[in-house]
């Protein structure tokens, strides 16, 4: 292997170490941003679902746990497991606040990266890899704590294969998010402010993925449409795989869909970056 070819992976490793150092600088901030991130909404939805299923049970004449009411094909126990799955899965999803490319473009600081003897995108991939490694550890810890506290309600994967399939889909989806956020950050070549685009994308990805309501619990028409998008395969589908509601065939179908979208997003990312650089004058906006 030539020295130039070896430089890429080595640089990636250095970037990962550097990103880790940055993240653990403020300890309280670390706990808030990395550990507690993505736990609030599922917790609130747990209470909402408890009230909703309570109402449904009283309508059904006070159904007990033995004869649970199903709403949209989901029993209360399954919904609890889904919410538990959300806590773990959402930690792995690349966050809209995790990239800070737009200020670099806006203030004309990209120049220093362009003169370096490697692709700028490697630096950002290092950020993605650091995020994923850290969140894998945090998600594992969150799962262990949840299982220790409430083993009878917590989401326990049906098999090792299902776990592998679910993690694969989540990480592919997370990389799609990374590409989406890169593209939106690159809009700083044209726009003055882009944070609202990032927040908007985060809302849309969360809702269409099932962060509030499982996509398969939504009305049929919505489910039909949303099940083509990578957000569904990044949030709802992996949890359903872990629960055993979906199987290996669904995984392959989802992986093909997400793989196609990932490639399309990567092509778009390259195109947007090239077009943006053509406009870039290195003096800031």
């Amino acid at each position: 292997m030539s020295a130039a070819a070896a430089r890429g992976p080595l640089l990636l490793l250095r970037m990962v170490a550097y990103e880790f150092r940055k993240r653990i600088q403020f300890r309280a901030g670390f706990v808030v941003r990395e550990v507690l991130n993505g736990t609030v909404e599922p917790l609130v939805m747990l209470f909402v679902y408890t009230a909703l299923y309570g109402s449904a049970a009283s309508l059904a004449g006070g159904a007990t746990e033995g004869d649970e009411v199903a709403l949209g094909g989901w029993t209360y126990r399954e919904i609890i497991q889904y919410v538990a799955g959300l806590v773990v899965v959402r930690k792995l999803v690349f966050h809209n606040r995790a990239l800070d490319l737009a200020p670099e473009i806006f203030e004309g600081r990209v120049t220093k990266y362009l003169v370096m003897p490697f692709r700028f995108f490697v630096l950002l991939q290092g950020r993605f890899l650091q995020f994923t490694l850290m969140q894998l550890a945090v998600a594992t810890l969150a799962w262990c704590i949840g299982y220790a506290l409430a083993p009878e309600y917590w989401l326990v994967p049906v098999s090792a294969a299902a776990t592998l399939q679910a993690v694969t889909l989540v990480l592919m989806g997370s990389y799609c998010c990374f590409l989406v956020f890169f593209i939106l950050n690159a809009m700083a070549f044209w726009l003055d402010v882009i944070w609202s685009l990032l927040v908007m994308a985060w809302f849309v990805i969360g809702f269409t993925g099932g962060a509030l309501v499982p996509v398969s619990q939504m009305p049929e028409g919505m489910y039909e449409v949303l099940s083509y998008g990578f957000p569904y395969w990044m949030i709802t589908a992996p949890i359903e795989l872990l629960m055993g509601r979906l199987g290996a065939g669904d995984f392959l179908h989802g992986a093909a869909l997400v793989g196609g979208q990932l490639l399309a997003l990567d092509l778009l990312r390259r195109w947007v970056w090239r077009r943006g650089l053509a406009r870039y004058v290195g003096a800031g906006m």
């Binding site: 309280a28 901030g29 009230a51 619990q217």
Partner: protein
């Protein structure tokens, strides 16, 4: 406009209020000038909040629709009542985005010592700092929120609440929302004085706002009491919606604003104490 707030006790509350309104008028003017330069951003921010509102409306439409329309309730809240509740949530969010957007930068500004220029100005640091970023796009979304609230109220008048009752209860409800938003926001941010740039303020804000965006009856009673009486997130949407819908008994409806007043006094005291810890560049 005078450059400093009236200092003598003779000027009184009215003079201070007039001075504060003068400052706010300048912030509004600057906000419009700034945003007229970022027209795409204006549209994006309006769309962003509309996405947020749409996700809420759709979520509850889906949830209520699961049991067949008009059958399920959430902690005793019917679908029609929930729409009013969401209207209050949107108004609260609109007010927050219009006037209090600067709070997102508080931790960072504290760390970088950016409060210096505010502290040397003659007036309340909290007011001058947190109200400095008036947002026309937030105002646009506030109008959307009010529009939704009006639409939702049409669904409950006159079966649940009389149109005449709305004449006094709706302005009271909006006033309670505005008051609660200001002092809740301040209470979330005071933590940053002790845990610098930790994002704890953001987390607490996100946590409690999320809790407040759903009726308190869905939570276990201990959490409900906490959100009513200790950190009165209830003032954000639960109390105003309950007031308008006639779900409160008169004694509670009259007493609760006094609790919000007491909360404001305590928060202001803590903020002033926190401000004494400020040492320009702190991070």
């Amino acid at each position: 406009m005078s450059t400093s707030p009236p200092q003598s006790s003779g000027a009184g509350l009215l003079g201070r209020l007039r001075w504060g309104l003068g400052v706010e008028r300048q912030y509004v003017r600057i906000g419009f000038v700034r945003k007229s330069q970022f027209r795409v951003e204006f549209v994006n921010q309006v769309l962003m909040d509309l996405c947020f509102y749409a996700s809420f409306i759709l979520t509850f439409d889906i949830l209520y629709g699961l049991g067949g329309e008009g059958r399920l309730n959430l902690g005793g809240w019917t679908h029609e009542e929930m729409r009013v509740y969401l209207g209050m949530v949107f108004v609260a969010d609109g007010l927050f985005m219009t006037f209090l957007g600067q709070q997102w930068h508080f931790g960072q500004d504290l760390k970088n010592g950016n409060l210096d220029s505010i502290r040397v100005r003659p007036g309340s640091t909290a007011f001058l700092y947190f109200f400095q970023r008036f947002s026309p796009e937030g105002l646009t979304n506030l109008l959307f929120g009010l529009g939704w609230l009006a639409y939702a109220l049409v669904g409950v008048v006159p079966e649940q609440t009389a149109a005449l009752t709305l004449l006094w209860s709706l302005p009271c409800a909006v006033a309670v929302i505005a008051w609660s938003q200001v002092f809740l926001m301040l209470s979330y941010n005071v933590v940053e004085f002790w845990l610098l740039n930790s994002d704890v303020g953001h987390l607490v804000s996100m946590l409690l706002s999320n809790f407040g965006e759903r009726p308190l009856e869905v939570y276990p009673s201990a959490i409900g009491r906490l959100l009513k009486f200790v950190l009165p997130v209830a003032g954000m949407a639960w109390f105003p919606a309950s007031l308008v819908l006639g779900r409160l008994d008169a004694g509670f409806a009259l007493a609760y604003p006094f609790l919000l007043l007491g909360f404001a006094v305590v928060v202001l005291r803590i903020f002033r104490r926190g401000l004494r810890r400020y040492e320009s560049a702190m991070g």
